[in-house]
Subunit: 206 residues, 6 copies
Amino acid sequence: MTLSADTRAKLMTVSTATIATALFKRGLRNQMIQGVGPVGGPNGSNMVGPAYTLRYIPAREDLNPITVFQDPTHPQRAGVEACPVGAVMVIDSRKDPRAASAGSILVTRLMVRGCAGIVTDGGFRDSPEIAALSMRAYHARPSAPTNLTCHQAVDLNVPIGCGDAPVWPGDVIVGDDEGVIVIPAHLADEIAHETVEMTAFEDFVT
Amino acid sequence: MTLSADTRAKLMTVSTATIATALFKRGLRNQMIQGVGPVGGPNGSNMVGPAYTLRYIPAREDLNPITVFQDPTHPQRAGVEACPVGAVMVIDSRKDPRAASAGSILVTRLMVRGCAGIVTDGGFRDSPEIAALSMRAYHARPSAPTNLTCHQAVDLNVPIGCGDAPVWPGDVIVGDDEGVIVIPAHLADEIAHETVEMTAFEDFVT
Amino acid sequence: MTLSADTRAKLMTVSTATIATALFKRGLRNQMIQGVGPVGGPNGSNMVGPAYTLRYIPAREDLNPITVFQDPTHPQRAGVEACPVGAVMVIDSRKDPRAASAGSILVTRLMVRGCAGIVTDGGFRDSPEIAALSMRAYHARPSAPTNLTCHQAVDLNVPIGCGDAPVWPGDVIVGDDEGVIVIPAHLADEIAHETVEMTAFEDFVT
Amino acid sequence: MTLSADTRAKLMTVSTATIATALFKRGLRNQMIQGVGPVGGPNGSNMVGPAYTLRYIPAREDLNPITVFQDPTHPQRAGVEACPVGAVMVIDSRKDPRAASAGSILVTRLMVRGCAGIVTDGGFRDSPEIAALSMRAYHARPSAPTNLTCHQAVDLNVPIGCGDAPVWPGDVIVGDDEGVIVIPAHLADEIAHETVEMTAFEDFVT
Amino acid sequence: MTLSADTRAKLMTVSTATIATALFKRGLRNQMIQGVGPVGGPNGSNMVGPAYTLRYIPAREDLNPITVFQDPTHPQRAGVEACPVGAVMVIDSRKDPRAASAGSILVTRLMVRGCAGIVTDGGFRDSPEIAALSMRAYHARPSAPTNLTCHQAVDLNVPIGCGDAPVWPGDVIVGDDEGVIVIPAHLADEIAHETVEMTAFEDFVT
Amino acid sequence: MTLSADTRAKLMTVSTATIATALFKRGLRNQMIQGVGPVGGPNGSNMVGPAYTLRYIPAREDLNPITVFQDPTHPQRAGVEACPVGAVMVIDSRKDPRAASAGSILVTRLMVRGCAGIVTDGGFRDSPEIAALSMRAYHARPSAPTNLTCHQAVDLNVPIGCGDAPVWPGDVIVGDDEGVIVIPAHLADEIAHETVEMTAFEDFVT
């Protein structure tokens, strides 16, 4: 399932609050990624794209020496190259911000490759540099230690949990100044249509 | 008991830190609403007003369909209309920010009606809009999901807990750039007088 | 709404797990009182009764001297006398076990009066004595400090939250060796009937 | 890599504390599954077996109706049938005990099939029945709600986190009355040998 | 200040709940060591003795190789030898039970030397062996990993925090089946006297 | 051991992320002070200096009347005068931000005396004033209540824990816009040299 240009454009204009209400009407109550916000704070723009996921487990010391960064087939490195243009990388960091989920080099690489954004339920290092990028990034808080300290990448594009929300590959991720929400892929078009109409109505009555 | 114009004016000029010390001298150690800060960050102005409370319990799914928003007698709606001019609405959200305590429509309505502010130990949705209002609002963090997801309004103007502090209707609520503190109603005048003097002295010695 | 003898008898024979499944089928996902267990551990018997609630807020020091215990109209004391025969007292302690929700004198008094049990999302003091009673009690953990330290009783028989579950007066409370669940009053008869049948079927296939 | 009968037999006689020290000597500091204990409490016997893993993500309401239990290909059901004889099933429940990771029917089925044990960093339902089984089970606390409420099984036998420890398929899991520890597969033989010797020495000097 | 035999004998007969009330009357609200219970569960006996403290900080890897256990001047070892006969060792483990505060060898040594008990706001390893000792021990939960993993002993008999309570050397520590409370040294005699009388009165009216 | 001007100058130019990686290479994984950030937010400048520590324990009410502030020998006051020029005061507040670790008067005094910064794993009061100072300060969150409410200063310049990291007097503390890291004193020169080179290389390849 692909994200149409029309749906993407619509979702660039609506809030996560409005989307949450539309999902609530369909019985979906846990689609907000809890506890994450935009690196660098509000800037008024949305992030929209299908989810491409990266899954971490706790790091085991003998498997995570500093030399793993030299391996281009490492899932973290491979994922940054494989994340499709227009997609949002979503990382399952088990809500653990004690070490970084990624740093500015990887996030910049995603941006240069044309990805739409990045989300972790942990933290990013080099967060001041990430805040200055044009691509939006969301995390729980800054975290300077290298990800090898706590996290080991094991899977690409599998279903994950992120901030207590289920994230399936291809789900449509929308971020705004409040946070990030997950729209199940099959609902993206109708939610986009409905929320644009809800927004127009709210603006009218305000 | 009413809040005099003189006491209100004095409390507009003192910090929650100074008030906390004055309350500490009287044996009151738990009057700070823990874990909340100003939506949109520091702006240098105080919020002062008597507490008008709203109490939430966990939402039960069958009692909280989206249609409850059409009911003007719903306690949340009723409370927004009943909160007195000059008062601060204080919401007991059980320190649960997973869904919104309120959104910009209700907060704007409070402001238009002449209320002095709003506080929750949960989160607000539409927080960027709320941050742009002239009325101050305090919460734990932004939270986009509709309050029906987690919260059900059940009571107006009863004693509540908010951020681990006791809040009795009519207690005088003061917010500044650090947070929010609760002055028992019978102490408001003397605390206002004393803290203005303490502040003058501190400014003199600095 | 009253709890029929037949429904009570049925609910004495089924598990909270089976009830949770029956409620889940009806879209009710948050009826388990999270984080509480039986004082003194498993003993194989159920607790069943309609909820009679007691609501605490954080204690304010000047309102909670030791002398309040001499006041028979204090809501905690009044509640222990007013809790109907056959009912379960459910206390909203805001999940705070740092001070006791009640002690053995009050719990014993409830038992002597013919109540069916007591639940708090905080802790009980004198827990070894309470464990020895024939009436079941549930809490988060033992807590020796007097409830005046942290808790002030303010309301009887209003809707409350307990362990993140909504509890409305008259809801039917069932406890077993795993914990405590809340059945909305209007569903008690049908849930009792259905869970007895589910239990018979499970026993047959096991 | 298989677990030899000799190594299994040795590990039945040593404590998780001794194993933790042997792993610490090798630079492995995070192999203890934090926060879990034996269902039903201490009984003096060990659980030993290679890890067979089951991974949960947060449940999405539309994907988890009660009818999924009728599907024998559901990963939870499939896993219970596929877990090898002698293995320990280890479940990544994201440290969320609000709903059950499994119940007595599945745990009993594992036991009947000859598995060595089961571990979750969430909770089990029907815990009194599970406590009565001869196969050991470990969890954080009892949890009556059906796992559909919070958990969706998505993967079998992939690397997971459990209680903040990394668990790779085939790692050797050892449980005693204190908790559960994870021995990397390639170290199992030498750790078994070394800890038996350490235990003998400690018994000698005590 | 020494603990008289009379005061010790009295405190062997009263509950931490009664002591907490007596301290509350004197304005002391935070003397309960929060979150700890007896290793092995209730047994009906009290632990009484003056506090001898041990302070841990987070372990730094280069300072905590396994060889430090061979150093008899290490504060943990020195403390076990220096703790006075009749005293209770109280350990500040920063409420971190991820690694052990001590194990059965050290706890047994304390018992053999005639100490009155041991308390940590972390966890003990070898907890089944400790549960079998005649000397009482209190902790948050079992914890098998060696203390070198997380804890480094740095100080003996200085003021510490334990379970959020202040503990000054020489304060009188009382443990029962509910938990552990700290009586300031200068109040020990009068609290002992008063609580014995309170207990007699309660027994009379029960 | 003193901090050379050359090492200090180098550390003013590198990030905590780079330092964390250099420490990770040496087996040091827990040197980041978890959960603290700059008061007033990012400003692009570093804080560097040897640690001078202050240790708090939980406050006991009778030992902490408001009058203790008049005592110039009180450890908090004495510490502010004794902290060496160029040093960073690091406070062990047991990760408790419910009351202030210090306020603007003490922090200003440190700045005037020529100290390099201040860090607490609790919170500061008067945080807007502190944010306006040229000396950097780091905390968990603002906290208005006087420190007497929760904290009692007991020790100066002893080893402490701060934000789960070990801090030994003389360790070199570096703060940037992401947070604060602790370099063991004996490694400061080589870490400074290495991280400057790492930074140059990263800038070259970016």
